[in-house]
Symmetry: none
C-alpha cells in the first residue's frame, strides 16, 4: 500500500510554520509497512487544494490530508474535497450535536462560524474528533481512500491513532517495520555511539540509530521483516545488546520520560518515599516536570521557588552567612536548600537547584551555565556542580533533567557516570 | 512570479528527518515577492523525481529543488533532471578541478564516487558550492527556471543566498510581501474571527489570517505589494484596524509571549510591583513561565508548589475548614492561597492556581479541567473558575497562561473578556 500526505495551510507554504505532521504520519505509516510516495503542501486556496487532491488521488491507495478544517473563511479543505467528489456539503447532525455539547459545557454560545465544522461532503463518513471542534472526513476517490484530519498536530495525531491507524494495521497483514526506542540521558551522542560500537553498523538488521532531542539521546532500533514469525525475538535480541552496552544509562523506552521513570521508582518503593523540590534558576520547572506525571501527588506535595536570596533564607532557612560566603550558586547553598526543603516537607528526598541561566549574571569564576544541584536523602546529602552550554531555556531544561537523573541513580543505588 | 519547492530524500518521506529547507526557502521567496504554490517531497527514487520535476515545471515559473546531489548510489536528482531535459549528463571540468583541489587540501585522494558530483546535464549551468562537494545545477524546462541545490541545509542556504536570490531580487523590481504577527489569548479562534469581521476577507490586501498554537490565537497580516512606496503605511493601517477590532485582547507582537509582556508591564510600573505564585495542579509551571524571562528576578522571588492539602495549610496558611468545606479546587481556597502567598512574599500581587488536571480526580460537579485561579492585589482579590478542555498538559498550560492573562488585564485596569 502506498500513501501521499497532503498538508494544507498558508502558514506552511509561506514558511511561517514548519510542517511536522507529515514526518510524524510517515513514521506511523512505516510502522504498518505502508510506503509514502510524497509529501505535498499547498496554501488555503480552494483551486490549489482541489488540484492537489485530484492529482494525488490518482497516484496512491491512501491520501492523508491535514489542515483547513477550521471554522474561518480561510479553511477550505472540506469545500475542495466536496468539489473533487462532485458532491454537495451537508450538515452532519451527529457532529453538530457534539459541537453544541462542547460549547454548552463551556457555558458559551456556539458561534455561527463553527457550524461549518459539522459539514461533510454527501456520501463521506464523519471521523470523530476527541480533541477539538473539527470533524474529520473519510471518503474514497476511485480506488483511493481519503482521510481528512485537522492540522493542529495534537488533534491530527489523536484522530489518526484512533480512527485511521487500526484499519491500516489490519490491512498490512504482517510485512512491516518493528521499532523500539530506548532513551539515555547524561552522555553525548558520539559517546553513546562509541559505546554501541558495531551495533550501529549501517547494514545491520535490526539497525540501531541515535537521535537527540532535549538532551535525551535516543536509540532507535528498526527491524525490517517480511513475516512476523520470530521478528519480535530478533528485535528483542538487539535491544538486549544495546542494554548490555549502555547499562543504567538507558532510563526508559518509547514515550517514557525521566519524570515518569523516577515517579514509577518512587511509587513502587515499599517505603513510600516522597520528594520535595527547592528551585532557584529553574523557577518551578523541576516541580512542573515531576507533576507532568498523573498520580505524582502520591510522592510529591511540597515545592519552593526561591528566586532571591531572601526567599532562600525565609522559606528554606538557608543561613545568611552561607549565602554571603559562597554565593547563591554554590554547593553549600544548594545543600542547605535541599536540607531545608526535606525537613520542611518532612519527606524522604529533596532536590535543590541553583544556577546562572543567563543571559546576564555570569562571572569569570561562575559563567552562565554554572548550576549546582543537591539531593538530600535519609543518609545525608550530595551535591554536584555542572557547566551546561546553550541558552537560558537549554540550561534550565538540562538542570531539571539532571536533578531527576541524580535522584534516579541514587534510587538505583548506582554511581552516576556523569 | 510563482515557485514550487521540491525536496528529495528517503529520510524525509520516511519521516526520520523533518524538512526545514522548504519553510526557509518560502520565507526567502516571500521577501522578494515570489509566491509559493506548493512544497513537494519525494524519495530518492528516479522515476518519482522525474515525475515530480515534470509535473511541477509545468505549473510554476521557478522550481527550487534540494537534495539528492550526494556522491552515493541513492542520490539521483541530477540523473532525473537530465532525463526530464532529455539530455545526457556530462562532466563539468571546472567543478572537477574544484573537487580535486578540495580533496588535495585535505591530503586525501578523491574517492571515485565523488566524480558524479561534477556531472551536470548538457545545456545546464553549474552553480558554485562554497560549502560542500556537490555542484548545483541551473536549467530551464520550457518557461520554468529550475535550480537544483544540495539538501544539507547549510550548503543549500549558502548556495541560494549567493547564486539564486540576487537574480530573483533583481527580477522582482521591488515586489515583495511584508508581514506582521499579533497575538491574542483568552478567546477561541472563531470568536476572534467574528470580531475581525471583514478584515479576514480572502481577497483583502493586506490580508489577515489566524492560526492557533498553544492556545494563543495569532493574527498574521500579510501585504503583497509591487512597490515599496507606502507599503509599510498600508500594512500599519491594517494592523491598526486589527487592534481596533480586538482591543486589549491583543497582548503582543511577533515573538512576544504573555510572560514577556506581563514582565515588561511589571518592570515598567513606577511602584516596582512584585508577583508571587502559589500552585497546585500546575506544579511549578506558572513560576517556570514567569522565570522564562531574563531579568524576572526584578519582580519575582517567591513561589510555592502546594500539591497536597497539608502543604496548602502549612506553607500558605489555608484554613483547614476552608479545604474541608469547599474542597481544594474552589474559589475560597485559591483566594486563601493567593492571599497567603502575597503576605508571605510581602509582595504586591500573588497568583494562585488549583485545579483538576486529570486524567483521574474528576467528579460530576468538578470534572477534569476544572481550574480555579485567584489574583490577590493591594485592593483585594478576585477569583475565577474555568473549565478547560484537553488533556493534562493542555489543562496545565492553559491554566498558567490564564493566570498571566488575569494579571495582565488587572495591570491594564480592564475587565477581562473571558
Amino acid at each position: 500500500m502506498n500513501a501521499i500526505i497532503l498538508s494544507i495551510g498558508d502558514e506552511l507554504v509561506l514558511g511561517q510554520t514548519i510542517d511536522t505532521n507529515s514526518a510524524w504520519l510517515s513514521q506511523q505509516l512505516a510502522s504498518v509497512g505502508c510506503g509514502v510516495l510524497a509529501h505535498v503542501t499547498v496554501a488555503d486556496d480552494q483551486p490549489a487544494i482541489e488540484q492537489a487532491i485530484g492529482h494525488a488521488s490518482k497516484r496512491c491507495d491512501l491520501l492523508l490530508i491535514s489542515g483547513g478544517l477550521g471554522p474561518t473563511a480561510d479553511d477550505l479543505t472540506r469545500q475542495a474535497l466536496a468539489a473533487v467528489m462532485n458532491q454537495p456539503l451537508e450538515l452532519n447532525e451527529q457532529w453538530l450535536g457534539e459541537l453544541q455539547k462542547f460549547f454548552a459545557a463551556r457555558r458559551r454560545p456556539m458561534p455561527e462560524a463553527n457550524r461549518i465544522q459539522a459539514m461533510i461532503p454527501h456520501g463521506a463518513k464523519m471521523i470523530f474528533n476527541t480533541a477539538g471542534t473539527a470533524a474529520g472526513i473519510e471518503s474514497v476517490l476511485g480506488p483511493c481512500r481519503v482521510c481528512v484530519m485537522p492540522g493542529v498536530p495534537k488533534e491530527m495525531k489523536t484522530m489518526f491513532e484512533r480512527s485511521v491507524l487500526p484499519s491500516l494495521r489490519e490491512a498490512s497483514g504482517g510485512a512491516a517495520i518493528l521499532s523500539r526506542t530506548l532513551h539515555t540521558f547524561g552522555m553525548g551522542e558520539s559517546a553513546v555511539a562509541e559505546m554501541l560500537g558495531d551495533l550501529m553498523r549501517r547494514d545491520r538488521n535490526p539497525s540501531v540509530g541515535t537521535t537527540v532531542s532535549g538532551g535525551i539521546v535516543s536509540l532507535r532500533v528498526n527491524f525490517r521483516f517480511s513475516s512476523m514469525s520470530e521478528a519480535k525475538a530478533e528485535l528483542e535480541q538487539t535491544v538486549a545488546k544495546c542494554r548490555e552496552a549502555l547499562g543504567a544509562l538507558i532510563f526508559g523506552e518509547e514515550d517514557e520520560s525521566l519524570q515518569v521513570v523516577v515517579g514509577r521508582m518512587l511509587k513502587s518503593a515499599p517505603s513510600s518515599p516522597t520528594i520535595a523540590t527547592a528551585e532557584s534558576c529553574t523557577g518551578g520547572l523541576l516541580g512542573k516536570m515531576i507533576t507532568d506525571v498523573p498520580g505524582s501527588s502520591g510522592y510529591y506535595s511540597y515545592g519552593w521557588v526561591t528566586y532571591s536570596n531572601r526567599a532562600k533564607e525565609e522559606l528554606l532557612g538557608v543561613p545568611t552567612e552561607l549565602l554571603a560566603q559562597y554565593g547563591a550558586v554554590s554547593e553549600p547553598v544548594v545543600l542547605a536548600m535541599a536540607g531545608g526543603a526535606r525537613v520542611r516537607a518532612r519527606g524522604t528526598y529533596a532536590l535543590a537547584i541553583s544556577g546562572i541561566a543567563g543571559p546576564e549574571g555570569g562571572t569569570p569564576t561562575k559563567p552562565v551555565g554554572s548550576v549546582c544541584i543537591a539531593l538530600a536523602h535519609p543518609n545525608g546529602a550530595e551535591a554536584r556542580t555542572f557547566l551546561f552550554p546553550g541558552d537560558r531555556e537549554f540550561i534550565r531544561d538540562r538542570s531539571a533533567k539532571m536533578a531527576l537523573a541524580m535522584l534516579r541513580y541514587h534510587l538505583l543505588g548506582q554511581k552516576a557516570p556523569f
